[in-house]
């Protein structure tokens, strides 16, 4: 006897079930993870920080819409990836940046660094960092400023500039007068973020809340950021530096170890300064531009760490996170090839 099935059954190849987390869910989760840092940023720098962030996010989304229309491909602005780029780009900018700069940066980041390569998944470099690098070159005066503003009291709205008195962000102090770092900033300030710096990068605490959220959701892997930060922490004290008075400080000297706690604290100060936390947890971990395998991601993290240490200690800039990641992005293809898992049974002794 022949019972007929409904005539509209779908006959297609398996698998017929899926447990995947769709791309928009992943992307918007990252945006949510950045909200604590945004809230802190408003507290520390005022409402303008929110304005810059929104302008950057909207410009990024608008650029993606425009380019995709021009390319005649499906518009995918709903997946959240352009929004992330905008927010992250804004977070790397100084808190009093004129608004046209994040707009131009977003157009470059999405239009060139992402869409010109073929869109989501095809870019080699982290779009937000590529945008920031572009802006550093095109508007270096606005990006590398002599004066760094901060709110006198949180949420007070009273902006004041940290200028001649302290003269520098933590990164600059660590570069030019490393032993005096704790005269200017306490470790606790560096952790909480009540310091001058770029919009999203000052508060390690707020960023880490988001990062832990992403790690629990298994959107980012702990290996990459830990390898990155650990490498930086070790190398910034392992590499020899010249103090302001010209004396060499190196770990092979006995005087270096006179106060081991101080060595560790300096190392921690480096980890909490500059864009390292945001770079390690949010930029380097971008899936598209980081290696495919866990082993590869560790290699990537270590490589970034080495570069940051070199740039911060010996290079021309006080901050090296942006370039370290971009340089390592360039090597991801090689890292992938070298760290692919061996095929099952290839090295078996049958």
């Amino acid at each position: 006897m022949n019972k007929n099935f409904p005539s509209n059954l779908i006959v297609g190849p398996g698998p017929h079930i899926s447990g995947a987390e769709p791309i928009p869910k992943i992307m918007w989760s990252v945006v949510i993870a950045l909200v604590p840092a945004l809230v802190f940023s408003i507290a520390n720098f005022g409402w303008y920080a929110l304005v810059v962030t929104l302008v950057a996010a909207i410009s990024s989304v608008a650029t993606e819409w425009a380019v995709q229309k021009f390319r005649n491909v499906p518009v995918t602005i709903g997946d959240g990836s352009a929004a992330i780029t905008g927010v992250l780009l804004a977070f790397t900018l100084p808190p009093d940046i004129p608004l046209y700069i994040p707009v131009i940066g977003s157009v470059f980041a999405i239009g060139i660094a992402k869409q010109a390569f073929g869109g989501l998944g095809m870019n080699i470099w982290n779009p937000a960092l590529a945008g920031r690098a572009f802006l550093s070159a095109a508007y270096s005066g606005s990006i590398f400023m002599p004066k760094w503003p901060m709110l006198a009291k949180i949420f007070s709205g009273d902006i004041r500039s940290i200028d001649a008195i302290t003269a520098a962000t933590p990164c600059a102090v660590l570069k030019y007068a490393p032993l005096t770092i704790f005269d200017h900033y306490r470790l606790w300030d560096l952790f909480v973020g009540r310091i001058p710096g770029c919009i999203g990068e000052t508060s390690a605490a707020a960023l880490l809340i988001g990062a832990v959220f992403l790690m629990i959701r298994k959107i980012i892997n702990w290996r990459l950021p830990f390898a990155y930060v650990l490498t930086v922490m070790i190398l910034v004290v392992a590499f020899p530096v010249r103090a302001a008075d010209g004396t060499l400080m190196a770990f092979w000297q006995q005087s270096f170890w006179a106060d081991p706690l101080f060595v560790f604290e300096r190392s921690l100060a480096h980890a909490l300064s500059g864009g390292l936390v945001i770079g390690a947890f949010f930029m380097a971990t971008d899936m598209v531009t980081s290696p495919l395998t866990k082993k590869g991601q560790v290699v990537f993290g270590i490589g970034c760490g080495i570069l940051v240490a070199i740039i911060r200690l010996y290079g021309g800039y006080p901050e090296g996170v942006c370039y370290s990641i971009l340089i390592m992005n360039t090597l991801v293809w090689a890292i992938d090839r070298l760290t692919m898992p061996g095929f099952f049974g290839e090295h078996a002794h049958a």
């Binding site: 019972k3 099935f5 190849p13 079930i17 995947a20 095809m122 899936m287 395998t293 099952f344 049958a350």
Partner: protein
């Protein structure tokens, strides 16, 4: 012409009673082969062939696959709970036929009832091992690795590492074939899915139309897909006259299926993490998409068992297994072409 007399009588000599302990390995193999026993896990490979290892490749370990890694299927679990002694009996027969020194049954930890039932029926030298729940541990290569630590090289068989693997259902069928002269005329299977009103584990005569089995269990008219097999590696069907065959381990009806969108690869690497063979589905899929795949061999295309774990986890919803199938076809075609060109003078 053969006419069905519809009397459902046993043939002469069936069922019989035989003592397998008095039978030689050759007699066992003959009994199994004549009964038409094939692998009941879905692949339907002739069981008799798996019971005759060559002299150069002796078998030291006989494994029973009680893992049942495909979602929705519970038939192996049910068999282990209700027919544990016959399964263990089947394992003992297998051990005698291949001359193994170690016998072990692998069961995933989500089946504690089956584990207890099998432990009670076993005893003595037969080990019952509980494994972590991991797809696709029910495939023989990952299972062999989990239970013995041995890796079967690409292109080779379990015999090459001294192992033989049978599904628990096959062991049950072997027991029936050898001790009762029972041919393989019916098989246990699961009928399930969110579009089945009364899911059940049934023993179904081979040849029964799938439509009848489903009618027995009740079908929700909102069904979207009907599958023969499990939801990962099963085949979607649309004709109710398709019969239950020896390899039909499950019949599923689903009304909720994943959305049909395929997005760009975001290089998240999850496919590589879940691949049991360390495959590179991501690279393969991208290369095939770009039409740029020239060298398939080093990507081990032919070793992919199409378990579908990669497609399952892909956030972009890319059906990576389908890309691999495409690559296999193209690679086979190129091999043929190459072979023909070699033959030319």
């Amino acid at each position: 012409m053969i006419e069905n007399d519809r009397e459902n009588r046993w043939a002469e000599g069936v069922p019989c009673t035989r003592d397998w302990q008095k039978m030689s390995p050759e007699e066992i193999v003959t009994a199994v082969t004549e009964a038409g026993v094939v692998g009941m896990g879905g692949a339907a490979f002739p069981a008799g062939v798996k019971l005759t290892p060559s002299r150069e490749k002796p078998v030291d370990t006989a494994i029973l696959n009680g893992v049942e890694c495909e979602p929705y299927l519970t038939i192996d679990h049910r068999l282990m709970v209700e027919r544990a002694e016959e399964i263990i009996g089947g394992l003992s027969i297998i051990v005698k036929a291949v001359g193994a020194k170690r016998a072990v049954v692998g069961i995933e930890s989500n089946k504690p009832e089956a584990y207890e039932s099998m432990c009670k029926a076993a005893g003595g030298k037969i080990e019952i091992e509980m494994l972590d729940v991991k797809y696709p541990q029910g495939a023989e290569k990952p299972l062999i690795n989990a239970l013995t630590g041995r890796e079967v090289p690409p292109g080779k068989l379990p015999f090459d590492v001294g192992v033989v693997v049978h599904n628990v259902g096959t062991a049950w069928a072997i027991f029936n074939a050898v001790t009762k002269c029972m041919p393989l005329i019916e098989r246990p299977l699961t009928v399930s899915g969110d579009a089945i009103e009364r899911p059940a584990n049934l023993i179904v005569p081979i040849g029964t139309p799938v439509g009848s089995v489903i009618e027995h269990c009740g079908l929700d008219p909102k069904v979207k897909k009907i599958l023969s097999g499990g939801p990962m590696m099963g085949v979607a069907i649309a004709d109710s006259a398709i019969p239950v065959v020896k390899g039909t381990s499950g019949i599923l009806a689903l009304k909720k299926i994943p959305r049909d969108i395929s997005g760009p690869c975001i290089r998240c690497g999850r496919c590589i993490q879940v691949c049991p063979l360390g495959g590179i589905a991501s690279e393969m899929a991208r290369a095939i998409e770009a039409g740029a795949l020239v060298d398939y061999e080093h990507l081990h295309v032919f070793d992919c068992m199409e378990c579908g774990a990669c497609s399952f986890v892909c956030p972009a919803g890319r059906n990576l297994v389908q890309y691999v199938r495409q690559a296999k076809e193209e690679a086979a075609y190129r091999r043929e072409l190459h072979r023909k060109q070699q033959k030319k003078p």
